[in-house]
Amino acid sequence: MYDIKAYYEAESVEEAARLLAEKPNLKLIAGGTDVLIKMHGGQLEEAELLSLRKIKSLENIHVRDDGTVAIGAMATFSVIFHNAMLKKLIPVLTEAAVSMGGPQIRNIATIGGNVCNGATSADSASSLFALNARLKLQDEKGERVVPIREFYLGPGKVALNPGEILTEILIAPEDYLGFGGQYIKFAMREAMDIATLGVAAVCKVENGNFAEVRIGLGVAGPTPLRCLEAEEYARGKKITAETLKEIGKLAVRSTKARTSWRASKEYREHLVEELTQRALKTAVVNAGGAEVV
């Protein structure tokens, strides 16, 4: 039995926000694949849970009139992976979705829980960083929108104020239209494993040059991060093996990798340098560019 002291469920975001404001102790639960594991491990005791599972509006995935892709926080990774519209518009995210956990985990784990859990290894995070995703947060008083790069504060720490609920993940058309992307999850096993490194690269190609490159990394530091120096360097450069090589080298400079039982710092840095190039190589082809040989 789980150490649950009280259990509440809301039928709407408003109701959830009201309950959260009334009872600041409440711990939100979505798919529970982080929350219940923490309870099992004794890191979360006498929990008073507020479930979001009955709020159907949070499962919605749609494209707004202005082209913004809006993904409800309660969309599961299976739903995201099988969503034909996302597969067409933002395949880098659907690839990340199918790389996480195993089928049963994907059937219940939500993207909102993945982001709010604040892990650097979150499989959705590198792609969402590369896509400049913005997060819509709602509390009793209203809404605010935060860029994902400002949301991750440290390991397991996110910029969620007391009483706030993540409702939607937004990706603007200028951040995905015309881009090609690729996500590489490097792990010891092909399924049911946490990433040793996650690399998401997206790029836009013009006349054989990089018009824009964005690189998101997971497990290369205490939070997911972007490789801004490498991205800046790439802008306007001719797409060649040399350019890619330099991007790989510069990408390492943005990292703060550390040694863990999964891999040493040096090995992770080697992976960053190598996998950034590989991801970008495929991203170029996906963006309509010629293959770099």
């Binding site: 039995m1 789980y2 150490d3 649950i4 002291k5 009280a6 259990y7 469920e9 529970g32 694949t33 219940l36 594991i37 099992h40 479930s51 599972r53 299976s78 199918v98 956990g101 195993g102 089928p103 049963q104 985990i105 059937n107 219940i108 092909e190 399924a191 049911m192």
Partner: protein, 170 residues
């Protein structure tokens, strides 16, 4: 704290109070006596506790019992015919020798059943991916893969000109 929930298991309707601390696995095994679903890891890693919830495989060790409200649940006890005749998937597992100790079998049979009933086509690679949430400590997986393929006969796409084709793996 208790909560009243209504759900069906293998076609039978239930309506009773569950302790909010309980997992669905505990309710199935301890209250309903359905011990086909096993507790292996207890943390969502092994799939020994998997059942179908509204037709979709879920690990019940990390599924709170209260979440079963309004759901249609199928366990391994509900797979065979009324007179105990094995389902096609179960038969395939027997024929291919895909069972040793049997601890992983209920979950694997249920997931394979869900794949079969989806009516969709799968490449071998996709089939392996769909089964990857089940750990088996005995068989080495080869016979399980064969049994799953046999269960999905006609729905495994191995033709090289298919957009799904990723090479013969097994």
């Amino acid at each position: 704290m208790f909560k009243r929930i209504a759900f069906t298991v293998n076609g039978k309707a239930y309506d009773f109070e569950v302790d909010v601390r309980e997992s669905l696995l505990e309710v199935l095994r301890n209250h309903l006596g359905l011990t086909g679903a096993k507790q292996g890891c207890g943390v969502g890693e092994c799939g020994a506790c998997s059942v179908l919830i509204d037709g979709v495989p879920h690990d019940t060790c990390i599924f709170l019992a209260v979440w079963a409200d309004g759901k249609d649940i199928r366990t391994i006890e509900g797979v065979a015919g009324i007179n105990g005749e094995l389902s096609q998937v179960q038969q395939a597992f027997v024929e291919e020798g895909a069972i040793q100790c049997g601890f992983c079998t209920p979950g694997l049979v249920l997931t394979t059943t869900a794949l079969k009933e989806s009516g969709k086509d799968y490449t071998r690679e996709e089939l392996k991916r769909e089964l990857s949430g089940h750990l088996c400590r005995c068989t080495g997986y080869q016979n399980i893969a064969k049994a799953a393929e046999k269960s999905l006969e006609g729905h495994i796409c191995t033709c090289e000109d298919s957009p799904h084709y990723k090479g013969a793996i097994i």
